[in-house]
């Protein structure tokens, strides 16, 4: 795996909006052609970073980055909602509903499984 991606595989990196990373320039900025949707990291890039981490021997980080790749599809508010539900030890049913929702609406299967594991760990 080529790393750093930015130096070794820049042309393959896209912004969350789908535009190429090379569009982040002052010309584009000054022309008003950069938007909030260009900000952040694309899920495919996170998966590539997960593979890099796995190959370098950092397996747990790789799994975290795979969950993160899924979370790129969730709106900010949903992420905050899940975090609050997890930390308040929300009832099993509520967490299960969130797990099902992100699985069905966003295809976040790894994260859903992670939430179910948290539910199962509750005493």
């Amino acid at each position: 795996m080529r790393y750093p991606l930015y130096r070794e595989a820049r042309s393959r990196i896209t912004l969350p909006s789908g535009r190429p990373i090379e569009d982040i320039t002052r010309e584009q900025l000054e022309a008003g052609r950069l938007a909030t949707g260009d900000l952040g990291i694309h899920e495919e890039t996170l998966r590539q970073q997960a593979r890099i981490a796995e190959e370098a021997g950092f397996a747990a980080l790789a799994r975290n980055l795979e969950r993160a790749a899924e979370l790129t599809r969730l709106p900010d508010a949903k992420i905050l909602e899940i975090y609050e539900a997890l930390r308040r030890g929300e009832r099993r049913a509520a967490l299960e509903a969130l797990a099902r929702e992100i699985e069905e609406a966003h295809g976040a299967c790894l994260t859903a499984a992670f939430l179910r594991e948290a539910v199962a760990a509750e005493p």
């Binding site: 820049r10 982040i24 990291i41 996170l46 970073q49 975290n64 992420i79």
Partner: protein
Amino acid sequence: MKDDRSTGSRRSREREAQPVRRDTTIHEWPEAGLVLMRGPADPPSSVRVESGRVVELDGRAEAAFDSIDRFIARHAIDPRVAEEAMAVPPLSMARRLFHPDVAASEVRRLFGGLTPARLVEVMAELDVLEMMLALRKMRLRSRIANQAHVTNLRDHPALLAADAAEAGLRGFAEVETTVGVAGMAPLNAVAILIGSQVGRPGVLTQAAVEEGVNLRLAMKGLVSYAETLSVYGDEESFRDGDDTPWSKAFLASAYASRGVKVRFTSGSGSEVLLGHARGRSMLYLEARCILLVKGAGSQGIQNGAISCIALPLSLPGGIRGVLAENLIAASVGLEVASGNDAMASHSEMRKTAKLMLQLIPGTDFVTSGYSVMPRQDNLFGGGNFDANDLDAWTLVQRDLGLDGGITPKGEDEVRRVRRRAAAAVQAVWTEMGLPAIGEAEVDAAVDARDSGDLPPRSRSADVEAARRFLESPATVLDLAAALARTGFAREAEALLALTRQRAAGDYLQPAGILVEDGVDLVAVSAVNDPHVYSGPGTGGRVEGERRRQLEDVPFAVDPRALGRVGEPPDIFDEGDAARPGDAPEVVVAVGPAFGGRLGATLGGLSHREVVERVLEGVRQEQVPARLVRVRHTADCAFIGHEAARLSGSGVAIGIQSRGTAVIHRRDLSPLDNLELLSHAPNLTGDSYRSLGRNAARYALGKSTEPVPVRIDNMARLKHIVQSTLLHRVEVEAATPGALPVELSLRDVVVAAKADAGSERQGA
């Protein structure tokens, strides 16, 4: 309690008043968890794996797991190596960890199978030096970095920006802020983001604030790392913080999903502080934290007691235990920001002793927060090392030939970036419609000691603006646009470069930081810059350009300039070869460069003054004095002894250019003497007059009280360099075989030349 004060000696009372005695020092109380290792409730280590699952951990079967056991068993322990690794006895594992011939990758593979209790058992086999060598080997990133704290009591944006710029300039790879007033978080984050990029493009920044707010800042691209994720090795401590291992792990993924680097926080002492240690040792609970952090998929951790540092340091083995935390974290493959941030001791010696255990091996971040500003403005309660310690820190790096992650910088450069950073936030504040920052505020931010030096500013208006900013759709792109519009093109480019790096995600890899790469940035991490150490000649060494940078402290002086002789003072006329004289007389002999190529002593006294005072003293006793120059040696004893051989009375004075003086007598061996004034920098005109008088009294055979000598233990320290340089001139002026010559003092007083002498002293 026994009152030592009433019975102690004066010495012991003085010792009690030393700063270190303000530290609280206690004996162990293992049942209460006040113990670094081997708590009575620490379980024996064990592991059992069934069909690829860890079903027993440190004496507990799966059914009895608490949530932390469950999380660690599931996410942190590699079931493929657990049984192999746990079959290695702790001592043998400790040796593999220590030994440079066993590769870090092999150690890390095996450590992937160790349980918390076993990690502590391995650490218990190592002393601090062994741990330091192991830490050196296990560090993730080859390049050493450091993290800065930038805060101030008033949350002043211009000062935050200026301090962040200074941090960036000085080479800090990460800058973190926090808030005096919670509502200021968004604007504090913006101020250090802009400021840091003025100092050096690529500095990562974070705001240590409530997670919900921090996530929103992350989503706006205003922070690039998060280190607020605290974990505990005890379930109830977790519950007190309203969190679980899963909520923290979810948060880690959430930050990563927005391109934000995550580092968890833990450290010895937090559980006992919260009242939940229950007989378990600090290191055992911390080992649970470390595995939890690894299992959560964090790339790194800041540990080493952090804000609780004074608690382990109150106990035996505290500094060693805290080093063990750092070592465990590195050994399981986590980036380590190794503490040294919160106040560890009232004693500079203890603080430094503690620091050396991380500074010498080198860690990914030597401190978890070096206070770039004076500690009075440090809202983290940090400032173990602060603005006033920067010169000492850089000198220690230079002394040891090591990189502690701080680059020495001169004041001109520092002020330049401070001004530009303050001006940049001023411009952005105006562009974004935030409460205006006046010229006086910018000026004060550049040269302030602390936030008390800044003009007043409405806190309520700032807080209200911060709230509106957080709720607005504004992002880092709006800041970049504002910078571009107001002439801060370089800073606008830096924010765009950071945005590209966020999209690439390279700094999410373990120990990731950003460095400049031409006009752009590139990530350096354990993936492309792994530390590989296998003994002498290997591993990261301070070499080349970096060595030059670290050695070039701005207050270092060119010794050639320091030893500059200037125009020779020439206060004497030289006569014929000196002959033996008649009794009674005192011969006053000066060294080869005295009053010729050199003009003043180490104490800054002009040579003319010295000679005049000596002659005055001799004449007080109605004894004639004769001046000679000894030319063959620069050694004070031999100058004096040579003169004594010429003296009619057998008594003579020898004076070196640096001011050292001796009274000698012909019948003594050269290295013996009647009196020696060796503390040249402390000698005054009176000292030389007394010396002259005493020499005359010896010549007359009168009883004589030696010239009183003051002890100044710092004299050698202060003057050894100048002394070396002066003496070098004297030695050069000596001519082997040259005979002494008669001298006469010229009448002219050459004030300018005396000044040249004292200027040398002051240089």
